[in-house]
Symmetry: C2
């Protein structure tokens, strides 16, 4: 065909495309949703990387494949993927599946727009504002600002950058060379994104002062005072304190009020990394864990973790109402943010970000919220606490299980001590041997595909399991299975 | 119910959930996919922000809503959203819908995993490597490294950070204070993400030296040399040059070979921002536009733009094979990247990023590629060029249309001169009046919902339209309609 004739007809067959989409949806519903949440099915069909690569025939070639083959590929991909929605997936801070949120995500993907201007995302620009406002209300702010970011790590970076700009607006134009050496403070239990952020933003990890935490993992305010003095002695200028609500491993909540006082005294930006624990604000019963959060200058909160909205859904919230976020990040590109539009361009909110194209991350949370209400979300949070509570009581009854500490959140940290090691705490190699138990059980578990749970060493503590339940599908039966299965897999170690 | 009894049953009704999902999918297929791509339907049902907010009832409340109401909300959201898949949406660098890619996105959303470890993303860790390798091959590299990022802006930041770390590894720990003042070079036609990135990374926008471009928007290598000397005179240390393959407005390709020579001479990192133009590498016919790209140290390439994979799909590619990306960004969190796993932890690639949770962005491209093959992708690219070619010829035939320049890519930049202004170029207020034409036509177009195309002023040039076709659904009829509609809407201005 001559080039111009090519243009007479579309280059895609719509009917065939819709048919494929419909079939693919059938596969998704059957294989990922239904079987993925079925406890009779595996959480994961483990294969070694080399085998899996071979099985999946990942190579990309010159010719396309016929529809049935592509559909088979969809099946295979689902089959060999880990089912994070499975009631026995306890491995990450996110897990579970919410049908409404998933529908929201599918709509988002189909509409495929970018959140920068009202012009091409009218619904989502308005929706993002409403959702952010609701989250801010839960924090305790009547006003403020914010934006959804691609993950909590980037939300934490936003906090650091906005704080830096707030104190030293010159930084945006002149860079860090125009500023004194800056110091960041966070507890040694903080998420690693604070370090990554400091490196990325040019501050450097050496300028992150790690504040001591108590045995429960909470930042010690007196230690923060000490580190601030230390930094000053070393010639750095303290500007930013990040506390954590719900630390990644232990689930600790830093003492917000005491740290807020320290920040106030020293004129420091007070950021709360509530990526994990923020959703607890929805619970009347448990929100006391975050008492004082309203004093923060900024908050990072990931609804994609505890609220099962699906990745990514991460809000960066700001108390400041002066347009700081926009001033800090804007570049005013005239091809996108034309000032001579006919509508109110205050709705073109995209210049608040460091991104250009930005996925719509608000709809999944909004739709879930509409479907279950604030009450429904509260019940989910309370139920997650109840699951953990139940496991704690069970663990206390079972021989060989030992809590690392009483959880105040839903991070259940414990060792499984196999019969061969019980009562041998006094032996010199006890901890070394115990540290090998969790990896061995994990290997067996993954190969069996029966469930998934994480482990890690922590400070001086040998490898222990960290179990998390956020999925509303998890029942007492799954929790009992969880403990039974660890016993079964670890009995002979 | 007592707290413990709550746990006896799941807190979600699976059957009702699946039914909802099925119905929601029906709505998506009918309203977003079928009607969204139907030229008899509007691209956008325009509402003023206040009206839309009211119509949608965005407020989030205590109580949940019954399923039929939630489903109606799905319909409304789709109805009032802009259809970026519509054959008459010419507004952004991304548009169109690919059924296979969309299926890939739906699978991604349902499986909801994070790309950090083989443990929870076995399929996608392997798949990402294969896709990145394929993209690198097209760049011309037999080996290398890379990662998918949440957008080209962040890919460009990665380039800047990796370049900085490569030259000054101290930066990661000690921050920019341990380094001389750094200078970045890019053309004045570059994407604004270079400026945003420089600000975010602590380098500062003043340290971005903007190199002059010729009348076609291409960086002038001699000007680059001058700016490098200028920066040195000003006491800064040049370290990073970013050229653009496919500038955002004019679609210009910087002269890669000449710039590569300059970079080599001065020992500078050579980054190619091919976010927009990278996909041209797939075309045997047009890939000469990127001749010399194989000499880059790093490349940013967004398949989500020209290849219709859907947002976000942005690859950061690196020529270096020494593990630089990992060294630059890793934090080695022991709760995630345990060294004592039973499988080869080289597959736990997540520590190469500055993120923690990271969406799976490779599947949509992989599935599309499997379905149509490299040949199919090539045809799409060639077809996009053919659409632009066709429009150029038409514009030359039509009175009142004036090209800003002959496009070498698919950015079609032109003015529409309404009858009242024709032949009046000599008048003092001609350009001022012409600059008001595009916004006026745009307003009418949006209110009519008939199509969508962007406009902007550029340098000294008054507002002109920038039209882009990437959707394979667009036909000659749509292209003719495009020009007719502009005439119709602008006739009386
Ligand atoms: C306390 C805390 N902050 C931040 C993050 C980072 O969030 P993301 O994975 O969305 O980047 C995490 C992730 O687990 C976290 O636990
Ligand atoms: C040349 C160029 N580079 C980078 C970007 C940024 O890409 P993203 O929107 O994915 O951040 C764009 C976006 O239009 C672009 O045109």
């Amino acid at each position: 065909m001559a080039e111009a004739d090519l243009l007479d007809v579309p280059a895609l067959d719509k009917a065939a495309g819709e048919e494929f989409l419909q079939e693919a949806f059938g596969v998704i519903l059957e294989e990922a949703v239904r079987r993925g949440t079925d406890v009779a099915e595996k959480v994961c069909d483990w294969k070694e990387p080399e085998d899996l690569r071979h099985l999946l025939d990942l190579e990309l070639r010159g010719h396309g494949e016929p529809q049935p083959q592509v559909l088979q590929r969809c099946r295979d991909i689902i089959r060999y993927s880990v089912k994070t929605c499975h009631p026995r997936f306890f491995n990450q801070l996110f897990s579970g599946l919410d049908y409404h949120a998933l529908a929201g995500r599918m709509i988002t993907e189909t509409l495929n727009t970018s959140q920068y201007t009202y012009e091409i995302a009218p619904v989502f620009v308005l929706m993002e504002e409403v959702v952010l406002q609701k989250l801010r209300e839960l924090v305790g702010w009547g006003s403020g600002d914010g934006i959804f970011c691609p993950g909590g790590s980037i939300s934490n970076m936003y906090a650091m950058n906005v704080a830096r700009y707030h104190r030293f607006p010159d930084c945006k134009r002149r860079g860090l060379w125009a500023l004194p050496r800056l110091a960041v403070f966070t507890s040694k239990e903080c998420h690693y994104s604070i370090q990554k952020g400091a490196a990325f933003l040019g501050i450097g990890t050496d300028n992150v002062y790690l504040v001591g935490a108590d045995e429960r993992g909470k930042m010690i305010p007196a230690e923060l005072e000490k580190q601030i003095s230390q930094a000053q002695v070393e010639g750095a200028v303290p500007f930013f304190v990040s506390v954590t609500c719900g630390t990644t491993v232990l689930g600790a909540f830093d003492p917000l009020v005491a740290v807020a006082d320290v920040c106030e005294r020293h004129g420091l930006w007070f950021h709360v990394d509530a990526a994990w624990g923020g959703s607890v604000l929805l619970s009347q019963k448990h929100r006391h864990l975050l008492a004082g959060i309203e004093r923060a200058n900024s908050v990072a909160w990931n609804p994609h973790k505890m609220l099962t909205t699906g990745l990514q859904c991460s809000a960066f919230l700001l108390r400041n109402t002066s347009g700081l976020l926009h001033r800090c990040h804007s570049a005013g590109a005239t091809y996108l943010f034309q000032p001579d539009k006919f509508y109110n361009v205050a709705w073109d909110t995209g210049d608040k970000t460091v991104q250009c194209g930005r996925k719509v991350d608000c709809l999944k949370l909004w739709l879930l919220w509409k479907a279950v209400g604030t009450e429904g979300l509260e019940k989910r949070v309370d139920r997650a606490f109840a699951c953990t509570r139940y496991l704690v009581e069970e663990i206390k009854k079972r021989e060989g299980f030992q809590l690392v500490m009483e959880p105040e959140f839903i991070n259940l940290c414990f060792w499984f001590v196999p019969p061969s090691l019980r009562g041998k705490q006094a032996q010199a190699d006890y901890w070394e041997r115990l540290g090998k138990v969790a990896p061995a059980i994990k290997e067996r578990m993954m190969k069996a595909g029966s469930m998934l749970v994480g482990y890690q060493p922590h400070g001086s503590k040998a490898n222990f399991f960290r179990q998390i339940v956020t999925s509303p599908l998890v029942t007492r039966q799954d929790l009992d299975f969880f403990l039974d299965e660890i016993e079964r897999l670890g009995r002979d170690l």
